[in-house]
């Protein structure tokens, strides 16, 4: 069984990202970049499936600038077998990413595509679903457990009301939630081995995908700073303020 895992290069979750002074977007100059934490969970799951003998090959794919190779290399150090970089300097939107991944699915015919449920930069939570629509593969989002039975997979999803179990025909798309697993760290010998694993580099032109952004970022600004509070005299005054000033109750 072949598994395709998507990994996105994003600002490290420890970094406090700030807006550029001209409001043209987040300031990522010299910021530490890392693999998106949800994608890391997807890689971990794929590697575990390989270790269990369920999967035979794990391919890590990323879409982004040349330096996104670093994140593919991280996935390879965690246990993926080979990498594919779709190199582009365009700011990629979920639809463009999904279209690129669709082309890779057509080329590689994976049995399962594992993606993070969202990336911590855009927080869109769209790519997996869009890829599902484009490929027609079965789809389960927000997975907290994946098991296999021959040609089908059973996925427990985290939904608002609790847990939902879906049975999917393969090939299938699964997006990962936080509780699916705890990713391992890359050991030093595996970091060294990862250097020798192959990474194919493709371009969006070669894939024939139009990645022109469909939306425009008007401005990025920090959230308004919280103002100092006041002390109210009594409950009546509190209720009055909630009703008439904050207008949160009627």
């Amino acid at each position: 069984m072949k598994i395709l895992v998507a990994v996105k290069r994003v600002a490290d979750y420890n970094v406090k990202v700030r807006a550029k002074s001209d409001q043209s977007g987040p300031d990522l100059t010299n910021v530490k970049m890392a693999i998106n934490p949800f994608c890391e969970i997807a890689v971990e799951e794929a590697v575990r499936l390989k270790e269990k003998g369920v999967a035979t090959e794990v391919i890590a794919v990323s879409i982004g600038p040349k330096v996104a190779q670093e994140q593919i290399r991280t996935a390879l150090a965690l246990g993926a077998d080979r990498g594919i970089l779709i190199e582009t300097d365009v700011a990629m939107e979920p639809l463009a990413i999904a279209k690129c991944l669709k082309q890779i699915c057509d080329k590689e015919s994976p049995d399962m595509v594992l993606l993070g449920k969202q990336a911590i930069d855009g927080d869109n939570n769209q790519t997996g679903q869009m890829l599902g629509a484009l490929t027609g593969y079965a789809q389960a989002t927000f997975a907290s457990e994946i098991t296999f039975d021959g040609a089908s997979a059973s996925v427990i999803r985290e939904v608002d009301g609790g847990l939902q179990t879906l049975e999917l025909k393969l090939p299938a798309i699964v997006t990962t939630d936080l509780r699916l697993n705890e990713p391992r760290y890359a050991s030093l010998p595996n970091i060294m081995k990862a250097k020798k694993k192959p990474i194919d580099v493709l371009t969006t032109e070669e894939l024939g995908v139009d990645v022109t952004p469909r939306t425009k970022l008007l401005k990025a600004e920090p959230p308004a700073e919280r103002k100092a509070g006041i002390k109210v005299e009594d409950v009546a005054q509190l209720v009055d303020k909630l009703k008439n000033e904050a207008k949160v109750i009627v």
Binding site: N14, R18, S21, D27, T29, N30, V31, K32, A34, E70, R73, T74, A77, Y185, A186, S187, L188, P189, I191, M192, A194, K195, A228
Partner: protein
Amino acid sequence: MIPLLNDRDIEFQLYEALDTESLLTRPRYADHSREVFNATLNTAKSVAERYFANHAVKADTQEPTFDGESVHLIPETKAAWDAFVEAGFLAAHEDYDEGGAQLPEVIFRVIMSYTNAANIGTAAYPFVSVGVINLIRAFGTAEQKALYLPLIMQGNSNGTMALTEPAQGSALGDIKTMAEPADDGSYRLFGQKMYISCAEHNIAGNVVNMVLAKIKGSPDGVKGISLFIVPKYLVNADGSPGQRNDVVLAGLNHKMGYRNATNTVLNFGEKDGAVGYLIGEANKGLGYMFQMMNEARIGIGLGAAAIAYQGYNLSLDYARQRPQGRLASSKDPSSPQVMLTEHADVRRLLLAQKAYAEGSLFMGLFASALFEDQNTAEDPDQRKRAGLLLDLITPMVKSWPSKYGCIGNDHAIQILGGAGYMREYEAERLYRDQRLNPIHEGAEAIHGLDILGRKVTMKNGACHQVFLEEVQKDISAAQAIACLSDMAKQLETALSTLDNTTQSLIALMGEDVDLGLANATLYLDMYGRVLASWLWLKQALAADKGLSSTQQHNEQDQHFYQGKIHTARYYFDWELPAVNQYADILNSGNRVPFDMQDDWF
């Protein structure tokens, strides 16, 4: 959890203030890349966060116990040891053909800095083991290497250094542990060792003790000391533990801090002698041990740096969030209180901590880079100079971070105030952990004797000369930069004061060696201040380069560089000038401690 160290600072120290990337041109590191270094350090950080920091507090409150049969450590300790081993870190800087990853020394030391910062007590197990690996590699026979190196590198045993005895600490020449030759070429050891770290535990199946002892009939003093491998269990050819050796735990000592590293009293030869295997030649043991000790001394300095760093991180975070009082200029009692960092005196305490913590880390990494150059630089002259400089600065690289780390951790408690004195906050634990560092691997006074009695005069003063030349290079570079030229001038004056004091003390030692060495600890501190100032100037130079480079910076980077330059300024204005007062005491051959009589106390 207190954030571990500061990733931006580590990047700065490795790649801006030091030129770690240039190591990649050396054949030994041809396979590596900055990406591999970064991936390695990411792993080090996650291992430290997940497996070491998780039980730092618990290990302090539930210290190791001995039930008469075996020693019990909280189970997180073994998990941390296993994680460190599985990550490949025990063998990180060993050769490929030994199962290592051939990483540069300086990268390995940053790996250790993360685990030190997370939990120094648990980090002691791998720390000492790496020293033992290096010692056996350097001086063991092919058979000894084949048997013991994989055993430790794969985590099936740790290693220890057994030097001290109940009656002998700093003065090793008088040790009493004896080794008697046996018929099979091995030895039987009899005696007792004291304060031996990590010699009993339940984290790995064996313990490889490196023991100093005297072979019967050997000369008195340090020239009669030999070095032995004494495993807890004799090691079978396949590496599995065999017969129990006659080395037993007499008891555990109970420590102030650093608690999860067991501190043991070991008895050798309660029955028919502990089986020991001689390393290298007889009577040369202390020299061998000192190779490891010199590396360990850099390691102690870095351990002190990591603990000071955590105190700084903790108190900075606290000071930024704790509203307290108003500035003198604010007359309105109904105005909101300001954060602690708004008070200049709190900023002074933070600045001092920043100077000590970041300064100590850089001092240790600078020394590690010299160690690297001494061994792998392509130019033989560069190797030689690096070796001379490293020999010279080692006493300060160990003792300056240890001494000022304690003061830094003391400042951290002061900033937290009442909370700092409470065990619910980690400031007091860090202080207790730190307090070991001026004691082990040579107490502070020993390093004073080492720098003044040995290092500044050895090889006709060549080491001291290289130091003067290297400092002068950076003074010249700083003179050309407007915002650093004042500091260049201050350091030039201090350097000349240090050199004059050195010459006058050498003359005094010529007349009366006891009097000449009487104030050696003060001289050590003086040398330490000049070294620390030089290395802060190096950091300031790198920060200035960062600020003035054409590369785009974000706002945080600019603050980072300005913080470096301002901290250097703090150290130069507030702490370097003490060398003048020290020079007055030292140059006059001050006799006050020397003349004090026992009966007058």
